[in-house]
C-alpha cells in the first residue's frame, strides 16, 4: 500500500468554455501522492493548481471538459458511474477549503455535519455518529467538545470553524485529504496551529495529503514533494528540499527570491515583471517567457519546453535550467 499511489493523475487537461473563448486551465499535468505523504501544489492565481485537484476528484465546474487518467486507490475513476464515483469520493477523500463557510451549512450544528458523513459512509447510527463527532472535535483540539458539538458555525471563531471542517473531512478516516489554501484566511498564529494539527493527524492516520498553497513558507514546513505550477502546467517538480535549495526553473527561483528575508538586509526585492497570465491568454511556447529574466532566444517563444529531469526525482520545464551552485538560495 505504501508504495502505491493513493491518487495519481496522468496527462490531466481541463478546458473551460467561457464567453470569451476556451480557457485552458490545466494542460497535461502528471502527479501522484502516496499514503502518509504530502504533495504540495504551489503557484499564483490562474496557475491551475486548484483546478487540477478539483478536476481530479470530479469537482470541476460543469463547463469544464476534463481529460486524462485519474486513479484513486488504483481505480480508474472514468470507469465508474457518477453515483459510484461520488460514493468513492465521499468514503476515501476529505476536503478542506480556504473558507470554512463554503463547507459548513450555517443552519446545522457542527455535530450534525460531522456526524452526517459517518452515518452515510460508515453506517453509524445517529447516536453513534454524535459520539464520533465529539471524538473528532476533541481530536482537532476544540475545547469543551461535548458542548461545542451543538454549536452552529457562526458561534465559532474562524480558526475553530476550520478545525470543525478538518474534523468533518477526517471523520471517515479518508485515505486522502485535499487541502486547498486551508490557512490562507487565518492569522499566522492560527495557521501554525492548523498546520501542526494536520501534520499530527497525518502521522497518526497515515493519510495522503495534497496541499494547495501560494505560501512557500507553509509548503517548506509540511511537504514531501512539491509541484510548482504556472499557466496550467507543472514547471518544476521534485522533493521539497531539492526544489527549494536548488530551484532549476527561473520562475521558481524568482518566487523564492521575491519574499523579503528579514535576515538579509536588502533594499530592493527581486521582482518578476508583469503579472501571471490568464488561462484565456496564454502565450505560445513557454508560458513564462514574457516575464522570464533568462529568456535566451526565440525558441522559448515558439516551443513548449518538455518536463525533463535535472536530478533524480527533480524535473523542470525550461530550455535554460539554472545550474546548481551548491549554496544558491
Amino acid at each position: 500500500m505504501t508504495d502505491e499511489a493513493v491518487l495519481s493523475v496522468a496527462d490531466l487537461t481541463v478546458t473551460i468554455g467561457t464567453r470569451r473563448g476556451a480557457a485552458r486551465a490545466v494542460a497535461g499535468v502528471d502527479w501522484s501522492v502516496r499514503a502518509g505523504q504530502t504533495l504540495a501544489l504551489v503557484g499564483e492565481s490562474g496557475s491551475g493548481k486548484s483546478m487540477s485537484v478539483l478536476a481530479a476528484t470530479g469537482l470541476a465546474p460543469r463547463a469544464a471538459r476534463v481529460t486524462g487518467d485519474v486513479r484513486l486507490l488504483g481505480t480508474d475513476l472514468a470507469t465508474l458511474s457518477a453515483a459510484r464515483r461520488r460514493r468513492m469520493r465521499g468514503r476515501h477523500v476529505g476536503f478542506v477549503f480556504q473558507d470554512p463557510m463554503t463547507s459548513l451549512n450555517p443552519v446545522l450544528t457542527v455535530g450534525r455535519q460531522i456526524g452526517e458523513a459517518s452515518e452515510a459512509h460508515l453506517g453509524l447510527t445517529r447516536r453513534a455518529a454524535r459520539a464520533r463527532a465529539i471524538e473528532m472535535l476533541e481530536l482537532v483540539g476544540i475545547p469543551s467538545a461535548a458542548e461545542r458539538v451543538d454549536a452552529y458555525p457562526h458561534q465559532l471563531s474562524g480558526g475553530m470553524r476550520q478545525r470543525a471542517v478538518i474534523a468533518m473531512a477526517l471523520v471517515c478516516e479518508p485515505d486522502l485529504l485535499i487541502a486547498d489554501e486551508p490557512t490562507t484566511a487565518l492569522d499566522v498564529t492560527t495557521q501554525a496551529q492548523i498546520v501542526e494539527l494536520v501534520a499530527d493527524l497525518q502521522r497518526r492516520l497515515g493519510t495522503a495529503v495534497v496541499w494547495i498553497s501560494h505560501d512557500l513558507g507553509v509548503v517548506a514546513g509540511l511537504a514531501d514533494t512539491v509541484a510548482v505550477m504556472y499557466g496550467g502546467r507543472i514547471v518544476e517538480q521534485g522533493a521539497v528540499d531539492a526544489v527549494f535549495a536548488e530551484p532549476a526553473h527561473p520562475y521558481t527561483a524568482a518566487l523564492l527570491a521575491a519574499r523579503p528575508d528579514p535576515d538579509a538586509n536588502v533594499t530592493e526585492l527581486v521582482t518578476i515583471p508583469g503579472t501571471p497570465p490568464s488561462p484565456l491568454e496564454l502565450p505560445e511556447g513557454c508560458a513564462f517567457w514574457p516575464r522570464c529574466s533568462v529568456r535566451g532566444d526565440s525558441r522559448c517563444e515558439r516551443e513548449l519546453p518538455p518536463l525533463v529531469p535535472v536530478a533524480a526525482g527533480h524535473q523542470v520545464r525550461t530550455f535554460y535550467p539554472r545550474q546548481p551552485t551548491g549554496e544558491d538560495r
Binding site: G141, S157, D187, V188, D215, G217, V219, F244, P260, I272
Partner: protein, 340 residues
C-alpha cells in the same frame, strides 16, 4: 534603517486613542489606549492579527472612524473635533491606500478620472489641461503607461489597480499615506513590485508612511520602526531588526516564530511557540495583561497588573511585566502550550 535621515518632527500623532463600537453583544473595544507618533520621512509599520485594532487605528488617523477618547493630531493640529467641512482639508494631508484596489476604485470611472478626482476635490489643477498633465505625471510615477488613463479598473491586473490606488493617494501631495494591507490581496510576484515601488517613491518624494499589515516579513522590510498590536493595544515597538532578533514581548516572539520560512530543513526543525486558543473577544478583554490567557509564560501577577509600555532599550518598548525575561524563558524551554 540605513542611509535615511529621519527628522524627529511628528507628521501625525495619536494620544491615548480609544475607539469603541457599540454592538448588540456589548461594546467592542477595537482600539483601547494607543499612542503613537509618525515622524516625517519615515515608515512606521503597524503589525497585528485580525482584531488587533491596527486597521481601526489607521482609519482613526483620517477620522474615518470617530475616536471615543484621546486625540488625533496631524501636522501639529489637533483634528479630533474638526467639523465635516474642515475634514476635507485633513483628507488632503493624509491619504489612504486600501487592501483591495478593486473595491476602492469606482468601476464606472476610467483610471484617469479616478486619479483626477482628488485633484478636483482639493482644487489642485487650474484647468482640464493641467489636470490631464498631472494625471500623466502621476501615472509615470507609479510605473503605469499613460494610455492606461483611458481604461477601466476591470481591464487592469490587481497589481496595476493597486498602482492606480497609489497614484490617487499621491495626487494631493499628502503629508502622510496610510497603507492598509496594500499587498495582501496580490500575487507573490506582484507584492515585491509594489513594495519596491512604495520604497522608491518614498526615497524620491520624501513620503511618510503608516504601513499596516499582518505580514511580518513585509513590515520588517518596509519599516523604519515597527509597532506590534494585540487586542487594541501596542504591546511592543522598536526598530525592525531589534524586534526581529530580540523580541521582548512574548506575543511578538510567538508571532515571529509562527511566520513560516521558505527553507524546508529550517522550517521543519524550527522551535515554534504555538499559542493556545484564539484571540479573546475585544468586548470583554482579560483583566490585567490582555495576552496572559494565551501566554506560555503567564504568572499570577499578570492577572493583577495591566502592563504599560516601558522602555527596555534604545527606542525599544514593551508592555510586559516580565519583558525580555519571559521570552528568554520561552526560548530556552519551548513551551508548546497545551492544546486548547
Amino acid at each position: 534603517m540605513t542611509g535615511k535621515s529621519v527628522a524627529t518632527d511628528a507628521v501625525a500623532e495619536l494620544t491615548d486613542l480609544a475607539v469603541r463600537f457599540p454592538t448588540p453583544a456589548g461594546v467592542v473595544r477595537a482600539v483601547d489606549g494607543v499612542s503613537l507618533k509618525v515622524r516625517r520621512g519615515e515608515t512606521l509599520g503597524l503589525v497585528g492579527e485580525s482584531g488587533s485594532g491596527k486597521s481601526t487605528t489607521g482609519l482613526a488617523l483620517l477620522r474615518l472612524v470617530e475616536p471615543t477618547a484621546g486625540t488625533v493630531q496631524v501636522a501639529g493640529q489637533d483634528v479630533t473635533r474638526w467639523s465635516r467641512r474642515r475634514l476635507r482639508r485633513l483628507r488632503r494631508r493624509v491619504a489612504m491606500v486600501f487592501q483591495d484596489p478593486q473595491a476602492s476604485l469606482d468601476p464606472r470611472h476610467t483610471v484617469g478620472a479616478s486619479i483626477a478626482e482628488p485633484l478636483a476635490v482639493h482644487r489642485l489643477a487650474a484647468s482640464g489641461a493641467a489636470r490631464r498633465d498631472r494625471v500623466a505625471e502621476l501615472l509615470d510615477l507609479v510605473g503605469l503607461r499613460r494610455d492606461l488613463a483611458e481604461r477601466h479598473p476591470h481591464e487592469l491586473s490587481g497589481g496595476q489597480r493597486q498602482r492606480v490606488g497609489i497614484a490617487r493617494a499621491l495626487a494631493g501631495e499628502p503629508d502622510l499615506i496610510v497603507l492598509d494591507e496594500p499587498i495582501a490581496s496580490l500575487d507573490l510576484s506582484v507584492q515585491a513590485q509594489i513594495m519596491n515601488l512604495l520604497r522608491g517613491l518614498q526615497r524620491e518624494l520624501g513620503l511618510t508612511y503608516l504601513f499596516i499589515a499582518h505580514d511580518l516579513a513585509a513590515v520588517e522590510h518596509m519599516s523604519d520602526r515597527v509597532a506590534v498590536m494585540y487586542l487594541g493595544r501596542i504591546v511592543e515597538s522598536g526598530a525592525p531588526a531589534q524586534i526581529w532578533r530580540e523580541p521582548a514581548h512574548p506575543y511578538t516572539a510567538a508571532l515571529l516564530s509562527a511566520v513560516p520560512v521558505a527553507d524546508p530543513p529550517v522550517q521543519r526543525s524550527r522551535q515554534r511557540i504555538i499559542l493556545a486558543g484564539d484571540v479573546p473577544s475585544p468586548i470583554d478583554p482579560p483583566t490585567g495583561c490582555r495576552f496572559r490567557t494565551r501566554c506560555p509564560q503567564a504568572r499570577p501577577d499578570c492577572a493583577q497588573t495591566d502592563p504599560v509600555l516601558v522602555e527596555i532599550g534604545t527606542g525599544h518598548e514593551a508592555a510586559c511585566l516580565f519583558a525580555g525575561e519571559a521570552v528568554r524563558a520561552m526560548r530556552a524551554e519551548p513551551v508548546n502550550a497545551p492544546s486548547p
